[in-house]
């Protein structure tokens, strides 16, 4: 039915277009004067009138019809006092029976009755909605048609409509942010109604699987199960290792590229390093598991160190490699925007290139460079796949990079992968972690973007 309606609407739109087009043409012939807009605009004008209101109504029907149908079919069950979860189960059963999936009680009389009721109401709904949609469409079409005359400027209205459409598109970015904040906050608030926020932020024991126990006697367990400090420490430990790799390598690469390298070197080496930025994180994760972790393990073993097979060090090193191009390209931009006059001034004093870089360029570019570091840190904190695959899944409060440790992102994945039950504090805790992550990265990005912007404005 959806497809038919769609094709009918398209057909309607095309017809209305030509209706408007020829109407305008007629006006031109009769009045011997050209109308205010081109013929095609009258066509668009009518097409908009005939389709847009109809589509809006169609969407409204789509959104509400499931709800109404369900209520109608289940109305008699509500009165019998069956509780909410059973009713929704019942409805799934009814739908399955209708779709031909046989279940143990599909022969029951109530179910059969309900299936009939469902078929009946859905049939009515389909017909009425098609009729409503197309009568509304025709009405608006008629209204638009009657407005067309010599002095009516269809172009203005069509353009206004296009602009409104564009404007709505530009609002999606805001909607996404609102959606993120809403979905995170909603679950987080519910989570904090069960687990005190201070326990979450400062507790040192993270074992959400224990929160399955629902006995009153184990209430204390729930409270002690959600201490996120080990996750924070793991996250920062791994991010720290990553920055130890990416900052020196990335910054030196950027300096060499912008100050020393010949253009031929620059033109080949730069894209190759940029490849690192385009490699999916799952590939890095695999690389960490299959190559780096065994390597570190055997290296540690040869000097008598016991390295866990999933170590913060392996994950951090690989993450560092991933972030190199990020640091290098951002710093490169910053360094290149330092004005030439500064360099010349320094050379004129007899300074060497490295002195100029160390004493003039880097201090001048410092705010921008720090901004790029902050962005890199935020990238490291939010990275998921490498740590999920290589860093370990069990919370472990340690500063030893050779041991396994877990991160915020890892725990979100561990909790939400596979089947979840919705109202458990375990599931909700993942959203609380998500909100924490969101806020942390938001602050870092915000500061970094401001610093970089201020810096580049200075030299413009």
């Amino acid at each position: 039915m959806g497809l038919i309606t769609f094709f009918l609407l398209v057909l309607f739109a095309i017809t209305s277009f030509y209706l408007g087009y020829f109407r305008s043409n007629r006006v031109r012939v009769i009045e011997k004067q050209r109308p205010f807009s081109l013929d095609k605009y009258y066509g668009y004008y009518l097409a908009i009138w005939s389709v847009v209101p109809a589509v809006i109504i169609l969407f409204a029907i789509l959104i509400f019809d499931g709800f109404i149908v369900k209520n109608y079919v289940l109305s008699e069950f509500y009165s019998q006092g069956i509780d909410q979860s059973e009713i929704s189960l019942l409805f799934t059963q009814i739908e399955n029976t209708r779709n031909g999936i046989k279940l143990f009680n599909s022969e029951d009389e109530i179910i059969v009755n309900a299936v009939n009721k469902l078929n009946y109401i859905e049939g009515i709904f389909d017909i009425t909605s098609i009729i409503t949609v197309f009568s509304v469409s025709s009405l608006f079409l008629l209204y638009g048609y009657r407005k067309i005359n010599l002095n009516f400027d269809a172009r203005l209205i069509v353009e206004k409509f296009i602009l409104i459409g564009f404007f709505l598109c530009s609002l999606i970015a805001i909607l996404v942010t609102v959606g993120i904040i809403f979905s995170l906050l909603y679950e987080t608030v519910r989570f904090f109604s069960q687990v005190p926020i201070l326990d979450f932020l400062f507790g040192t024991n993270w074992s959400p699987q224990r929160a399955f126990v629902r006995d009153a006697a184990d209430a204390a367990d729930i409270e002690n199960a959600f201490g996120a400090v080990p996750l924070f420490s793991g996250t920062f430990l791994i991010a720290f290792i990553a920055m130890c790799v990416s900052i020196p390598v990335g910054l030196l690469t950027a300096i060499y590229m912008s100050e020393y390298a010949k253009s031929s070197v620059r033109n080949t080496a730069k894209p190759i390093i940029e490849i690192l930025a385009g490699i999916p994180t799952v590939v890095y994760g695999f690389f960490a598991v299959i190559t780096i972790a065994p390597f570190i393990r055997s290296l540690g073993g040869s000097i008598g160190l016991d390295v866990s097979s999933e170590s913060a060090l392996a994950a951090g090193l690989v993450m560092g490699i991933m972030i190199i191009p990020f640091v290098s390209s951002l710093s490169d931009d910053v360094i290149s925007s330092v004005p030439q006059s500064l360099r010349e001034g320094s050379y004129a004093m007899g300074a060497t290139k490295s002195e100029t870089i160390k004493k003039v360029i880097i201090p001048a570019a410092l705010p921008g460079i720090i901004g790029s570091f902050l962005l890199a840190v935020s990238r490291a904190i939010g990275e998921t796949m490498i740590v999920v695959m290589a860093a370990g899944l069990v919370a472990n409060l340690t500063a030893n990079p050779l041991e396994a440790s877990t991160t915020i992102t890892t725990q979100i994945v561990v909790i939400l992968i596979g089947d979840q039950e919705f109202d458990s504090p375990k599931t909700m805790s993942a959203f609380a972690l998500g909100l924490t992550l969101f806020v942390m990265t938001l602050i870092l990005n915000f500061i970094a973007l401001r610093v970089v912007k201020k810096y580049t404005e200075k030299y413009e």
Binding site: R34, S37, L38, D39, D153
Partner: protein, 254 residues
């Protein structure tokens, strides 16, 4: 005999944000004449020109007060449609700016969006006449499909003129149309203007006083946002009423 007044500007004040660019400019521009606007850089003559087809609307911070009447109609009235206005008041810019499309498409664009041609032959007719009027048809008639940017600077500018007259405007504004051109191309365009004034009212902003003297019937002299003096070109260049004008036309400043 004096021609009929086509454009009548009264008490025009223009502000860019805090800065005022034009002060109480009043000026009448006659039909089928070339009027030149001269003055040192930044004196407001381009701003004035851009007011005449409301190109300043593009700039957010620009505020225009006063009235500009074309054939008695104030173009800053609320219900005026800028698109219609610009159909009647065409413009040629300082730097030739052909669209990166074919020569034909460049000229056909205006007639297309305004629906001036019923069919393809009519459209071709318009394009050809416009190109002929702009005295470039013979040079490009064999390569109407090439892009407009492939032409030389002078040809590009004449293409832009063809584009401007393709919608058959009443007034053509020219903002230093020859400043990016060599003398030969300049001469061609000046000859062209001489031709065009039979059909159109032309207002030209120019840096070159010789050019103003050569082509225009009347000349207005702008200084620091004020219209100092407007009169017959001969008078302006021989016996101007104002000392500033005299200093400028004799090359003592600017």
């Amino acid at each position: 005999m004096e021609n009929k007044v086509k454009v009548c500007v009264e008490n025009l004040n223009v502000h860019y944000g805090e800065k005022q660019a034009l002060f109480d400019v009043c000026m009448d521009i006659n039909q089928n004449e070339i009027t030149a606007l001269i003055g040192p850089s930044g004196c407001g003559k381009s701003t004035f020109l851009r007011c005449l087809n409301r190109m300043n609307d593009v700039i957010d911070i620009c505020k225009v007060e006063g009235s500009i009447k074309i054939d008695g109609q104030n173009i800053y009235d609320k219900d005026i449609q800028v698109e219609k206005l610009r159909e009647r008041v065409g413009m040629v810019f300082q730097k030739p700016n052909p669209f990166p499309k074919s020569i034909f498409e460049n000229v056909a664009y205006g007639p297309r969006i305004h629906g001036l041609a019923k069919d393809k032959t009519e459209l071709e007719e318009i394009v050809h006449t416009s190109l002929k009027k702009a005295a470039i048809f013979d040079e490009v008639k064999d390569r109407l499909d090439e892009t407009g940017t492939s032409l030389s600077g002078g040809q590009q500018q004449r293409l832009c003129i063809a584009r401007a007259i393709s919608v058959n405007p009443d007034v053509i504004l020219m903002d230093e149309p020859c400043s990016a051109l060599d003398p030969i191309a300049t001469a061609k365009i000046e000859a062209l203007m001489e031709d065009l004034k039979k059909e159109y009212t032309i207002i030209i902003v120019t840096h070159s006083m010789q050019q103003a003297a050569r082509v225009s019937k009347k000349t207005g002299f702008f200084h620091l946002g004020n219209l100092i003096e407007v009169n017959d070109t001969e008078t302006i260049f021989s016996t101007p009423a104002n000392d500033k004008t005299l200093d400028y036309v004799t090359g003592r400043f600017g």
